[in-house]
Symmetry: C2
Subunit: 318 residues, 2 copies
Amino acid sequence: MRALVLTEFGLKLDANYPQPEPKPGEALLRLRMAGVCGTDLALMAGYKGGYRGVLGHEYVADVAAAPGNEDWVGRRVVGEINTMCGKCEHCRRGLTTHCLHRRVLGIERWDGVFADYFLSPLANLHPIPDDLPDEIAVFTEPTAAAYAALRDAPPDAGDRIVVFGDGRLGQLIAQAFRAEGFNPLLVGHHEQKLAVAARLGIRTARATPPDEEFDLAVDATGRPAALSQVLGVLRPRGTLILKSTSAQPAHLDTAAIVVHEIKIIGSRCGPFPQAIAALASGKVDPRPLIHEIFALDEAPTALRKAAEPGVLKVLIRP
Amino acid sequence: MRALVLTEFGLKLDANYPQPEPKPGEALLRLRMAGVCGTDLALMAGYKGGYRGVLGHEYVADVAAAPGNEDWVGRRVVGEINTMCGKCEHCRRGLTTHCLHRRVLGIERWDGVFADYFLSPLANLHPIPDDLPDEIAVFTEPTAAAYAALRDAPPDAGDRIVVFGDGRLGQLIAQAFRAEGFNPLLVGHHEQKLAVAARLGIRTARATPPDEEFDLAVDATGRPAALSQVLGVLRPRGTLILKSTSAQPAHLDTAAIVVHEIKIIGSRCGPFPQAIAALASGKVDPRPLIHEIFALDEAPTALRKAAEPGVLKVLIRP
């Protein structure tokens, strides 16, 4: 089968990658559509200290096989990306997405989804409504990550919210806040990307107004250097939600965090059911984010395209 | 009157500092006892960009005058340190300790307490029980700061708690957690300081056990460089309470905060009534922390002493 593999020599589109074999409790999935995420690009740049294997973790797929669970075969699904052992200390404490032995699709010791076929634990799969198109359903994983911000720091009605970063994730986070009744300000540097959000009715700006304070700020810039600026717009006892993962450390003025009694919350994966509902209802509409859809044979080009400034979502179909 | 003043040329014990005049709503306070805090030492080192004025903010005092509120005269009090205007946006939102025009006793644009007399807004004062000795009552402000950790991130029963930093504040934080029914581990590098805590029945160590994870960690090291280590002992979705103020920025691995979904809470001033109750009941016993009591005439020596390694609390009496 075909697979886009990250090797020690870089990206390689392998036409003869071995098709994986599902074990009991797993599904063999046939790709319908995949999304390119900033994390894919970060992995290519060395994040996580050198992931090697098939890239990709945002997908919608058909279940091609599920040994011992044949009722799953033929279902169209999206899937969570962390595997869990169910036995370690974290799993026993309910922190299953932090399993001590976890593998992560396309990120850590588990082949990803930029391929004709791939595996997933059945427990990670969520069937999706028949009338939800692939090009919307493929946004479930990043939309869930966006909803994690709301789950991890539920705002109060009327809270002044700012999202820094007009990229893929920042756009979805702003949409999620808006979908749930808030009026976030999306701050970014790319005119075209801000225009995408503005057309959906989201307030946008190239910077926060001077002297305006926010109750909640989300950092989705991907640049640790932006953190001081993000911290600077919060009111005392305000909350900063960190969504950016970067290989670079940030230099933080910890005294300011103490003196202003700021709360910082690291936020990663989110609730799939809520994301599916938001996408199915149209409350979150990711279609304006789609820049281009590439065939799997062109996957290396797709990833290069996703890394270009001004480009939002790049999708890959078999 | 006598006052210990931080000038552009350093510390100066001024025998002829002008005695301040209370305005309506203020009290003129006669010092009974004051405590030297790490912040005093940080201010001498340039923290806050150059405070100039009388140092000191931990005190117990007698009300010598209170124009228009003569019923206060003669009361023995402790006092909160942030002044507030009551009118700015922060005050109107209830964030009075973050008043936009606030002054802070001995820290920011308000003369401090290492003097025969000083001023405080009446609203900041708390009368104390007659049988609470000065050398215990003087610990109210730092004990309140310790209780802020419990207020800002209330632990669950059975939570595994570690306090980093065996200094003045770390000791009181460990005592506060213990007083409220938890069993914190105090981690530090000074044998004598750890022994003080151990004699009070607090678990101590020079490092956390390898592979042991904590639900809650408090950083009271005063060294931003320690933060990575502190973050490293937390379980996923654990909480880090930041108590250290330092002029040095910290280098933080923000990706680790995101991936492990850590919560970081900056924590500063705390609840005086709870601190007074804990000290009055004996649940928190600061007396073993007292290293030496100096007369105000020896205040420069007292501050030098407080900066020595291994020294916990230095007190000053008139």
